[in-house]
Amino acid sequence: MDFLRPTTWEEALAAKADQPEAVPIQGGTDVMVEINFDVRRPVALLDLNQVRELHDVELVDGVQRVGAGVPYVRVIEELGGALPGLAQASRTVGSPQIRNRASVGGNLGAASPAGDSHPPLLAGDAVIEVESRDRGVRLIPAADFYLGVKRSALEPDELIRAFRMKPAEGPQYFSKVGTRNAMVIAVCSFAVALHPSERRVGTGIGSAAPTPRRALEAEAFMAAELDWDARLDPAVLKRFGELCAQAASPIDDVRGTADYRRHALAVMARRTLTWAWNDYRKARAA
């Protein structure tokens, strides 16, 4: 096995271009589990720890650009105001030790349907910035990034540089079902983001389909039916929950049944929207 240790982004892109089968490793919280359990024997590991650019958090033209290697602990500490949904999801990742190492970039690279960061990225219209030495930068909307179970739009010679997301202009919430509050892979999860200036509700579903996905019909329903100047209509709220549950295509597995996941999604969708709506009304009244 080769162990590649680039120190700059250019070196990292060159290494990936020359050896596309090299597996990038940042926090190691996914990759090392697979190696420890002999599930995977990569021909090369591409260590990104020394690539400083991947740890940048910056505001570019009003958009938050977060390096792929920024660990969850920093998302929680530094981005709770700008990206509250993602920060909430980050708090539920693993344990403190895991959050010190694991990153959104790693979650994207692994592209597991159960990854905690995906639903808020979807609800908040995140764009994934990937790059290769030979073809330059590509900007991929999160909704187009996930292609299948642990499969993404990332090409073999590309690396994930950052994700871009507009700072929240309305309340955002994340909810996740699991057997305890820590160290839990989601049975299913849900994120909601209000976009008041567009009169739009963003959604993200986790761990209830082959990929993370938006509940598009639910979003269209809300765009048509939600009265932004009134209290939340219980009938609209109920329908929103139903449509979110319908958007999933869950399976029965050791963590839960498909029926349970659908039920829980409807509950989480109603709950998170209610929390967000209450915050929105309170902020407007103030």
Binding site: F3, I25, G28, M32, V33, R41, Q97, R101
Partner: protein, 157 residues
């Protein structure tokens, strides 16, 4: 490959490291520091917790090559010679050690908590230790030990 790093203040140059090897394996099998324990190898149990450049991590999930030029501090590096760290003392006195397997990881993690937060609430202690599993104690004595260690450390100031 060779990996050069500092562990508990001592420089180490370790040869013949396999590229897929974990930091935990290097510590236990190549550097002679078996304090960090190998249990789950997937970051679930926290028994292998060490400081990496001052941040607690699961050493089973750090590739050995990733620590090149960096600083590691293990449970063996907390005591000052024969004198135990207040966290270690508190674990002994509070009866927070039973079989002892989870203890090194818990001590490193608790050490970090108290360093960052002099007066942690019970909720903060539970949150900080959420990634460290103990199958003997039921955690009550561990919580006692962390409270005791925090009180003592604050009194030392």
């Amino acid at each position: 490959m060779r990996v050069n790093f500092t562990v508990n203040g001592r420089s180490e140059a370790v040869d013949d490291v396999w590229e897929g090897e974990s930091l935990l394996y290097v510590l236990r099998e190549r550097v002679g520091l078996p304090g960090s324990k190998n249990a789950c190898e997937q970051g679930e149990c926290g028994s292998c917790t060490v400081y990496l450049d001052g941040t607690p991590v699961c050493s089973c999930l750090v590739a050995a090559g990733q620590v090149e030029g960096r600083e590691v501090r293990t449970v063996e590096g907390l005591a000052d010679g024969e004198r135990l760290d207040p966290v270690q003392e508190a674990f002994v006195e509070a009866g927070a050690v039973q079989c002892g397997f989870c203890t090194p990881g818990l001590i490193v993690q608790a050490h970090d908590l108290i360093q960052r937060n002099e007066h942690p609430s019970d909720v903060e202690i539970r949150e900080a230790l959420a990634g460290n599993l103990c199958r003997c104690t039921g955690y009550e004595k561990i919580l006692d030990a962390v409270r005791l260690a925090a009180t003592r450390k604050a009194a030392l100031k």
